[in-house]
Amino acid sequence: MRPPADAIGTLSLVVGAIAVLIFIGVEGALVFAIWRYRASRHVAGEPATFERNRRLEIAWTAAPALILAVIFVLTLGTMAEISGAGVTPAMRIAATGHQWWWEFSYGGVKTANELHIPLDTPIDLDLTSADVIHSFWVPELGPKMDMLPGVTNHLRLSARRAGSYEGQCSEFCGIEHAWMRIRVVVQTQSEFDAWLAVQSKPRTTVETDAEKIFLANICVSCHTIRGTDAKGTAGPDLTHVGSRVTIGAGVLENTDANIVANMRGWLADPQRYKPGALMPSVPLSNADLDALAAYLVSLK
């Protein structure tokens, strides 16, 4: 199966070429008329008085109709192709939009904001929303699809280049709509399997003092860390939060060098980076913040 983005790309080229030809024709005729019939070229005589021509009217009704008929047939073909009719997806992933982050569930194994998919494999996303309407869009992967509360929509994805693709929510969903970014990581099947195996495990560390800070505060009412008593579901699952490339759905980009500082800054005051986000600032001592940030980053 051709990736949907390729099918849309081909169709866009065809429609774009037709549009450019029409643009040149019509604008050319307009400019020619302005130049050829300007009053300064004609000092004497009355202008022409023709004001109707049935054949011309029929011609410039029929010609666009024919062009549009061709475009419509191409449209139907591409619609069938990108919806993946007749191709069984290799995997289904549930994607849920939240104000202002993404939840991805691989048969119950939950992660956030980073969607990993295997290379060259048709995947179906089952899309829904936990609150308002969101829309899943990764431009290089092609079409977008809305996520509506109470409804499950489906989107066929397939990528033929390994690597990282960026996208973001494209339906206005409230104050932090701009910072609801998605990262899609396309991996070879074996890399993907290894990643999923890690994500499927509960947290691998033993309970530390830092973890106790997490469990003793309101963190647990919204977040889950599998393997501990933290079982909140309003916010992202943090079991492997240290493996993610961003914090706050894209608002902070992590590197090995800055990830602890990013995490600490975010914990200290999320509203500074993402004003309006639903995560409150938790009053913690500096020492506790340091410990908590290091602990969360250790959850690879």
Partner: protein, 541 residues
């Protein structure tokens, strides 16, 4: 002339007169004044938006302010600027063009204006009452439900739009009845000027479309204030229902805003080509076709909602069909110019500018009817570019053409042509610089309605270009306002018929007397004034 504003120079009795007038011309001027004022406000809001987006991760506006600004910008430009401007011109011109002394219901006419204005004031009162609406002009449920929009902004949006809409509906009834019943002797419906035709079609569109919006607004108000669940999936409602109702109004609304401007340039182009309009019947008939089709295309705003391939294919087909009557109009305007004697006045410049820019908006519109392309670029800056090519490149340029053309009739003075040319060319450059790059921004992934974007996206340079364009556009509007004010005070005296025009409004004085015509005219063709001035060249009846 002293520098005292026109308003103050008026005797006290006349100042009060503006408040209680039922004269269609005075009400037309009030509508236009309202439109100009809100156009300036909406423009300032747009400048704030562009300033915030000029560079990545800019912190000029906080997200809440940005969201309020783009919401109010959309509502203001569509419902409080463009529609009142067009209704104002129709109010002023329709009775004059059909040889009538006034509209059918002059008192109702005053009511519709004041309702429209009060609706706008109610919307803007939200700023003082705790915050403007921040859910977009489309105000999608459930984001607009109380659970997610707990402030009063959305309530003011509902009340403001409902009151404004009631005014618009009443005005449409008035104009339709006027056109159908008050034409002077000989003015068959097949002879009325095309601006009048377009106004009639637009009035019918308003009567079909606005009630759907009013119903949706009432339902949303019930949800928000009385605990209803029309659009709340948690209570058995449907979020998508709002979108169906809103776009059943929203798409015809596009033609409500475009058709009268098409009517304006259908008056301007023949006069400055010194030829009758080419294909009168087809230009008028294609408007009826557009109006009919426009009630069957709303779901092309919803291709990404997941209605299903069958529904999407049907709405794709109807949306493509609407391009055909639109194309017919463009071809007829160009054919009108062919063989003519073109006087490139400012009015004519804006009229051909309309055609040139509307072609771009029309072509990008067809691409959005192609479902797979729409799924890629809907809700992105590509759509922002498209809609501004239609509503600014189209409608606003048409309104500017109409302003340069009819300002002398309304005020007795010509607008300055030198400033007019500056106005046109700065508009042309500023407009294209603002909106052309947005096609690319959308295609590479910049969504609409984002208050900022990450530097890593690489969208910075094109956004900066777009903001520079907006600044140039702002300069163009300043030139326009200077021209308006200067010409109002000391413009060249126009006389009754400065353009050697064709239609009846030019057969009376500038500005016309309260009763419009000394005696009700009788006509025998589509160009009554031309026939009167050139009996040897008169049109065949």
């Amino acid at each position: 002339m002293t520098a005292v504003p026109l308003w103050v120079r008026l005797p006290a009795r006349e100042r009060v007169g503006w408040l209680r007038t039922v004269d269609h011309k005075a009400i037309g001027v009030l509508y236009i004044g309202m439109g100009v004022a809100f156009f300036a406000i909406g423009g300032l809001e747009a400048l704030l938006l562009r300033a915030q987006l000029a560079t990545p991760e800019e912190r000029l506006l906080d997200p809440e302010t940005f969201n309020q600004a783009f919401t109010v910008h959309g509502v203001t430009m569509i419902l409080l600027a463009v529609v009142p401007l067009l209704v104002g011109f129709a109010n002023y011109l329709v009775p004059l063009m059909i040889g009538a002394p006034d509209v059918a219901f002059p008192r109702l006419n005053a009511l519709s204006f004041w309702l429209s204005l009060v609706g706008g004031i109610v919307l803007y009162f939200s700023f003082l009452a705790g915050g403007a609406p921040d859910t977009g002009w489309f105000s999608y449920a459930p984001l607009s439900e109380r659970a997610f929009a707990p402030g009063t902004g959305v309530d003011y949006y509902i009340l403001g739009l409902a009151v404004n809409g009631a005014g618009t509906i009443i005005g449409a009834i008035n104009l339709a009845v006027t056109i159908l019943l008050m034409r002077c002797p000989g003015m068959a419906i097949s002879r009325v000027p095309l601006f009048v035709w377009m106004t009639l079609v637009t009035s019918v569109l308003i009567l079909g479309a606005y009630p759907a919006l009013t119903a949706a607004l009432v339902m949303l108000l019930v949800d928000r204030q009385l605990g209803g669940h029309f659009f709340d999936p948690g209570g058995g409602g449907q979020a998508v229902l709002w979108q169906h109702l809103f776009w059943f109004f929203g798409h015809p609304e596009v033609y409500i805003m475009v058709l009268p401007a098409m009517g304006m340039i259908s008056e301007v182009i023949p006069v400055f080509s010194r030829k009758p309009i080419f294909g009168y019947g087809f230009v008028a008939g294609s408007s009826v076709a557009i109006a009919f089709l426009s009630f069957g295309v709303w779901a092309h705003h919803m291709f990404a909602v997941g209605l299903g391939d069958t529904e999407n294919a049907i709405f794709s087909a109807t949306s493509m069909l609407i391009a055909i009557p639109t194309g017919v109009k463009i071809f007829n305007w160009i054919a009108t110019m062919v063989g003519g004697r073109l006087r490139m006045t400012t009015a004519m410049l804006f009229a051909v500018g309309f055609i040139a820019m509307f072609v771009i908006g029309g072509l990008s519109g067809v691409s959005l009817a192609v479902v797979p392309i729409d799924l890629a670029v809907t809700d992105s800056y590509y759509v922002v570019a498209h809609l501004h090519y239609v509503l600014f490149g189209g409608t606003m340029l048409g309104i500017f053409a109409g302003t340069y053309y009819w300002f002398p009739k309304m005020t007795g003075r010509l607008l300055n042509e030198v400033l007019g040319r500056w106005h046109f060319w700065t508009t042309f450059v500023g407009f294209n610089l603002t909106f052309l790059p947005q096609h690319w921004l959308g295609a590479v992934g910049m969504p609409r309605r984002v208050f900022t974007y990450a530097a890593s996206t690489g969208w910075g340079p094109l956004n900066l270009l777009s903001t520079i364009g907006a600044a140039i556009l702002a300069i163009a509007m300043v030139i326009f306002f200077v021209n308006l004010v200067r010409s109002l005070r000391s413009g060249e005296i126009a006389g009754d018929d400065p353009w050697d025009a064709f239609t009846l409004e030019w057969a009376t004085t500038s500005p016309p007397p309260p009763e419009n015509f000394a005696s009700i005219p009788a006509v025998t063709g589509r160009r009554p004034l031309w026939d009167r001035k050139h009996p040897e060249l008169r049109d065949a009846p």
